[in-house]
């Protein structure tokens, strides 16, 4: 492939997605959201921009879309909040940035890039990540900004299931593999 060839791929999550789980209309919405997110990165590459800017732009578009489990539309923790993780890495120099368990950064991938470009660390986590990101002049939101009714319903179903099914001693915590097909959505 020639030196000037640009390429991009995106994902919105993998799991027990089976035909029929989504209505045709909802499938169309997902296809359109994927096409829009791909275009957000492609437009940067096609005008000669960097792969780092392209992947950040595509992931921001996916974070803003409530269909996907990242940013707006993120799943709920057991306590009914959102903890957001993200990472970004540049192949040119293997520079990298990551956040784990952040609560208020609207676009977690922007937070990961801020760690990469404005700190000497690779990963920041929890309250410390929140503190660092609050000083980075990036859009911040209340934690419930990430709520969606779809995820809240999933959260409630799991809590009921969890409450009903007492955990036998040694039984592993509820994990995605114990969720019914389709529940680990996106």
């Amino acid at each position: 492939m020639s030196k000037s060839a640009v390429a991009i791929a995106i994902h919105g999550g993998a799991g027990v997605l089976t035909p029929g789980l989504l209505s045709p209309e909802k499938e169309d919405e997902v296809h359109q959201a994927l096409a829009d997110a791909l275009a957000a990165g492609l437009v940067i590459l096609d005008r000669g921009g960097s792969s780092l800017d392209a992947v950040e732009a595509s992931v921001i578009a996916l974070e803003e879309c409530p269909w996907f489990n990242a940013g707006k539309g993120a799943v709920f923790t057991d306590s009914g909040h959102h903890e957001l993780d993200a990472a970004i890495m540049s192949g040119a120099d293997r520079d990298a940035g990551a956040i784990a368990g952040a609560h208020f950064i609207r676009n977690p991938i922007r937070g990961a890039r801020a760690v990469m470009q404005h700190s000497e660390h690779v990963m920041l986590a929890g309250a410390g990540a929140d503190e660092f990101l609050a000083d980075q002049a990036l859009p911040q939101v209340a934690n419930d900004w990430f709520d969606t009714s779809l995820r809240r319903d999933q959260w409630a179903q799991n809590r009921e299931a969890g409450a009903a099914a007492t955990l036998e001693p040694g039984q592993k915590e509820m994990t995605t593999s114990s969720l019914k097909p389709g529940q680990k959505f996106g």
């Binding site: 590459l45 780092l52 974070e63």
Partner: protein, 133 residues
Amino acid sequence: TVGAVARDAKGHVAAATSTGGITNKRYSRVGDTPLIGAGTWADDRDAAISATGHGEYFIRTAVAHDIAARIRHAGRHLKQACDEVVFEELKPMGGMGGVIAVSASGQPELVFNTPGMYRAWRDEQGRVHTAIY
């Protein structure tokens, strides 16, 4: 979980991954997404990779770096490296999920061992594709 991998006109690759984790998670559990080498990796010498799936297994397998290492140290092509890790390393241990990757030469690969993965890419002929199953 969402992610993107890209190669630009200067030949540089990059990877980005973002997630809300797993539903009803406790104890501030962290999966593979923010762990460089597990859910996210980029190196111009081999490839950029972003992963999605049952994070604990992706961490134990160091999925993203394992794919890159097979290219650099074992001379694998990207598709072969992705297939080996997703189907021969992850699947036998119960690690369900997938990866997107782009090689240093700009070849995109999307490989998963689950019934579906939300995904989109532009092929070498410049056509855009979106898919779910």
